[in-house]
Amino acid sequence: MSRRTFPQREERHDDTLAFICRFTDRRTGGPYAPRGRHAIFRLKLAPLSATLLLAGCSGPHNWLSGAGREAMRIEALFWPLLIGAGLIWTAVMTLAVVAYRTAEKGGTERQVRAYVVWGGVVFPAVVLTGLLATGLLTLRGIAAQPAAHTVAVDGEQWWWRVRYEGPEGPVVSANEIRLPRGETVRFELTSDDVIHSFWAPAIGGKMDLIPGRTTQLTLTPEKTGSWGGICAEFCGSAHAQMLFRLVVMEPEAYARWLADEARPAQATGPGLEVFLDEGCGACHSIRGTKAQGPVGPDLTHFAGRETLGAGIRPVSRTALRNWIRYPEAIKPGVRMPGYPDMPDARLDRLVDYLMALK
């Protein structure tokens, strides 16, 4: 076996390796150490960008919060993958730097062949097979399972129609989904217009809503609280404002809430006349009144929700007034017409009525 020497450093023009060596030489002041002020800036900005990145690891959308069984399965896959990828990356980079710095010593063809066969063929094949098998098993674990409850979710531009199977028939709501803690819920997902995607990162998912099909997803929330949900497939101008809340309650509280939600609206008052006069009932339903429009969100228990406009504003008098007057300013492309010319007194009556729809 002939002994072959590798090219000397001067003969190499590999920008990537030179880039890596700038970091290794930074401390030793070697030939590749960075020069100039920009290097100092880069060092100072590193902790700042790390802080900004880590700031995303909390809140109602945090999929590492352990709030759902399906999200925890993904998390169980994520950490070994991250650590494994980190180890492989470090090993490859170390090898590259060592090879770059010890080029003069050379190596026999047998050694080089062993690197290629074991490091380039056998190792990736084994690792990829393991990853594929683990990924498939995780996927099987989060695929639709038999469930205690069914919730139908219909994606609309740009809000969510929600239908629960209550003990006395279906219960229709919108933009807020309540679930009992510790119980598996099957979501039946459809769409009337374009493809949407249902994702509540803290609990699990995601799954596309495809026109003409019913897709399924099961979620098992494990922590009570109000979690965030989003549409994860671009669906038009207000895609980024197509949010929802996923409220996880204790099972007894959930049963009580569902029974309340099934009742018709209890509120009365002069605001209902304004609602009907302005034609709101052509699009919106309020069970127990003449308003039976099927186009927009059901408002029977509107004020019992946490948000309005599909998760983008809190339910408050101010937000509701602004929404009725200028919905387009809050949600570009929204189908609901604005009522900028409605007299204040009328608007107050309407807002009073809607805020009483608990």
């Binding site: 062949r113 066969v117 094949a125 990829l128 097979t129 594929l132 098998a133 498939l136 098993l137 996927l139 099987r140 695929a143 639709a144 897709t215 399924q216």
Partner: protein, 128 residues
């Protein structure tokens, strides 16, 4: 007049064939599972066993074809999986060895790829 076979001594097609077998296997598996799940198991509850057995059969055929190609590359082309010298001469014999060598490597790669394609049917037992 005797026409040469498509894949024989010095034909370049032996380098394309393993990839074609992998692609055909991939598409067949995809179509079989997609059509079965769309027509027979519209509600997602029907078992996947017929798909599992069909995919297993298609996979065995694909692996058999790749194995036959590998034997061809080894026998007729004189290729070997590992080479110990540089193949650089501009001679018909050298080109043949090179084709055989590359075809053998591709056969090894696509054996793995075909197995990867078939793996999901071992894991899943219904459409969703």
């Amino acid at each position: 007049m005797r026409y040469p076979r498509l894949i024989d001594d010095r034909s370049i097609w032996i380098m394309v064939a393993p990839s074609v077998i992998w692609a055909a296997h991939f598409l067949l598996c995809y179509w079989i599972a997609a059509i079965w799940c769309a027509k027979e198991a519209a509600d997602g509850s029907a078992p996947l066993q017929p798909v599992t057995w069909t995919v297993a059969g298609v996979t065995l055929v694909a692996l058999g074809l790749i194995w036959a190609l590998a034997r061809h590359a080894w026998g007729r082309y004189g290729g070997s999986l590992f080479i110990t010298r540089t193949i650089a001469d501009d001679r018909a014999q050298e080109r043949k060895h090179f084709l055989g060598h590359v075809a053998l490597l591709l056969c090894a790669l696509h054996t793995l790829a075909v197995i990867f394609t078939a793996l999901p049917v071992l894991v899943f037992d219904r459409c969703w």
